[in-house]
């Protein structure tokens, strides 16, 4: 009876309070509108940023591939030009001598002949574009060898002819230069054989035929090798989580059905997850891939943390509902709130490309973009059970392997010293979701901070 009477009071109160309606002030909606709009804009911004990074990475990859070949070609062409200038000086006297000996004006004929021959060669090589590089290189080298053999086996006139041909080739009129460039474009190795011819010409002028025969083709240009340079990196900043671009929900909330104002099912909301400190420390190796581009790869330890509010730790199994007795590290979601730090430890392999943005060699500024593969090695992060209102640890929820995208800017201090220091802002976005269920369902890790790199250069 007493309980019934008690319930009557509650029902009266409930009934009365259901009628309570207070119109809110206009500022409430204004604030809500702003916040909703901002969240929407934020997710759009992250979406755009993601595709921008993706686009730049793809662009960077193709740029890297094309610039690799172009860079080598340009470098070798400039070397050839230098050599040619030097050879021209030597051979100008040689041409004069051979013309005087023959008393015939064969030099122009030879010039024409050599033009034709060079043209033919260039056409031949152009026709051979489809042939794999190695084969082409071999055929050209073989041609050079054959020329030398012919040169050795023939009589004196032929010697002179060859001498002249080769010397004319070396002296290079404009047409020949063009053809040579054509050849260069088709295959870099072609330049080697051309240079060998120059050397043959030089040597023949000294009547050292035997030496030439023994010598054979060789590379006169040594590529300048860019060595890998090693360094250490340390980044500090804030680790945070963001929602998926396409989904706004964070965790599953059971729908509550109301009958007569009384809820028939209940859930508890977890506390908000707040950003906290994070850092990355590791070693890396860096290499120049062109004058203004660098590639770097490394291995790092990455620490991210997030904060949330939990209640007291429940140590006694008797305090827990039966279905939760098997759980580890259980906290209530109630008052006596304390801050809990969810730690995430990763091992990460970052691969990035740096593009120099300015021409200042004293203070080069780089933009870098990269991809990171990380492996979650341990975490104490808590999950949340909304029906019981309990926090508990379950690492099975997490995606252990994470693929991320990173970008940032850096300025190189002490660029000309032995310990260049790169400093600049750094942003990381994990493309992989943290988990596919639980409290971190569909959430992505972000990190924003300051990145420093120290390179150790050889003396």
């Amino acid at each position: 009876m007493a309980i019934m009477e008690q319930n009557n009071f509650e029902k009266n109160v409930q009934h009365k309070l259901d009628e309570l309606k207070i119109p809110p002030s206009d500022s409430v909606w204004t604030n809500i509108e702003k916040r909703i709009g901002k969240k929407d804009k934020d997710s759009k911004l992250v979406f755009i940023l993601f595709f921008l990074i993706l686009f730049l990475l793809t662009g960077g990859y193709f740029l890297f591939n094309s610039s690799k070949n172009n860079g080598q070609q340009k470098h070798e062409l400039s070397e050839i030009k230098k050599d040619r200038k030097a050879t021209n000086n030597d051979n100008s006297s040689l041409i004069k001598t051979s013309t005087a000996k023959n008393q015939t004006s064969r030099t122009p004929d030879f010039t024409n002949g050599s033009e034709e021959k060079i043209k033919t060669t260039s056409i031949k090589i152009q026709n051979k574009v489809e042939v794999p590089k190695k084969k082409l290189q071999v055929s050209i080298i073989e041609t050079a060898e054959r020329k030398q053999m012919i040169f050795l086996s023939n009589n004196g006139n032929q010697k002179k002819e060859n001498e002249n041909k080769l010397s004319i080739e070396a002296s290079s009129n404009p047409i020949k230069g063009e053809n040579e460039i054509l050849i260069q474009k088709e295959n870099i190795e072609r330049t080697d054989s051309v240079l060998d011819k120059k050397e043959i010409a030089k040597d023949s002028s000294e009547n050292n035929i035997q030496a030439i025969a023994k010598k054979g083709p060789k590379k006169s240009i040594e590529k300048k090798k860019d060595h890998w340079r090693f360094g250490i990196t340390l980044s500090g900043g804030t680790s945070m989580i963001s929602k998926n671009f396409f989904h706004n929900f964070v965790y599953a909330v059971p729908t509550t059905a109301y009958y007569g104002g009384i809820p028939s099912s209940y859930y508890y909301a977890p506390s908000d997850i707040r950003n906290s400190t994070g850092f990355v420390a590791g070693i890396f190796a860096e290499k120049n891939i062109s004058a203004k581009k660098k590639i770097s790869i490394g291995i790092s330890y990455k620490y991210f943390s997030l904060l949330n509010k939990v209640g007291n730790r429940i140590d006694s199994l008797y305090s827990l509902p039966q279905s939760f007795t098997s759980l580890n590290n259980v906290y209530s979601s109630a008052i006596n709130l304390k801050t809990y730090r969810n730690n995430f430890h990763f091992i990460e392999v970052p691969l990035s490309i740096k593009f120099q943005l300015n021409n200042n060699s004293d203070l080069p500024i780089f933009w870098n973009a990269g991809i990171n593969i990380s492996q979650l090695i341990s975490t104490n992060a808590l999950q949340f059970n909304s029906s019981a209102g309990l926090y508990y640890q379950d690492n099975l929820f997490f995606n252990k392997t994470q693929f991320g995208l990173s970008t940032g800017f850096s300025a190189t201090l002490f660029a000309k010293g032995q310990r260049p220091l790169n400093v600049g802002p750094y942003f990381y976005y994990s493309a992989t979701t943290m988990a596919n269920k639980g409290l971190y369902n569909k959430k992505h890790f972000n990190f924003i901070g300051l990145k420093t790199e120290i390179l150790f250069l050889r003396k």
Binding site: A2, E10, K16, D18, L20, V28, E33, R35, P263, A334
Partner: protein, 220 residues
């Protein structure tokens, strides 16, 4: 369905432009309430600002009433309402439509209020409970001759702990065991606190009713 949508937007435009008086506004809102809520939810999910505003207009006054009961000032209640509605709009995808939309929003408001009390320094200290499993059982069942606002004002005069437990049990209908888990206290403490709150509130209701009869208005 589309007709409903256009109609509701038309009403909302009238309300927003303040082309109607308060009575007419209430009438329009009640009409809108009868409209298809599924369509409203769908429009809100499409981020249509008019639909979001309509949803807010429909539920904000009653939800502010809920928030008002859990806090000590109207300003705080509005803060809770604001946070609650942001959660509503960002988690609307989770509303499956198998219950009442109003009930689902109310649930979020209650949880927002509890989070606010737990995190706000002003309330946090008051929300600590002494462990007192013994409790008085009041069998009094007074008639509540107060209007909703007056009753809510009296509930708000209770200490924060009492106020919260009373609201959760008497108004929202939570069981003591559930409240105990929510607040991290024992069930006995919850019962005890509730009984004390109930006794105190009944006493105040009686006093207030007397004052009201004698012509003295105002809360304690």
């Amino acid at each position: 369905m589309k007709r409903c949508d256009h109609e509701s937007h038309f009403f909302l435009r009238l309300i927003n432009k303040k082309l109607v008086n308060a009575t007419k506004r209430e009438e329009l809102l009640s009409k809108m309430r009868q409209m298809d809520q599924d369509q409203l939810v769908k429009d809100c999910l499409k981020q249509k600002s008019e639909a979001q505003r309509l949803l807010y207009e429909l539920f904000a006054p009653s939800m502010l009433g809920v928030c008002f009961r859990y806090t000590k000032s109207l300003h705080d209640a509005e803060e809770v309402l604001q946070e609650g509605f942001i959660k509503v709009f960002t988690r609307l995808q989770q509303f499956k439509g198998d219950g009442e939309l109003g009930g689902w929003i109310r649930k979020i408001m209650v949880n927002s209020a509890l989070n606010f009390l737990k995190t706000n320094q002003k309330y946090r200290y008051d929300l600590s409970f002494e462990d007192s499993p013994l409790h008085l059982v009041s069998t009094e069942n007074p008639e509540v001759n107060l209007d909703a606002k007056e009753l809510a004002e009296l509930i708000r005069q209770l200490p924060t702990g009492f106020q919260t437990i009373f609201n959760l049990h008497a108004v929202e209908g939570y069981k003591h065991a559930e409240i105990a888990t929510m607040l991290g206290i024992s069930e006995g403490t919850c019962r005890s606190q509730y009984s004390r709150a109930r006794v105190l509130l009944i006493e105040w209701i009686e006093k207030f009713s007397l004052k009201k009869q004698n012509g003295h208005y105002g809360t304690k």
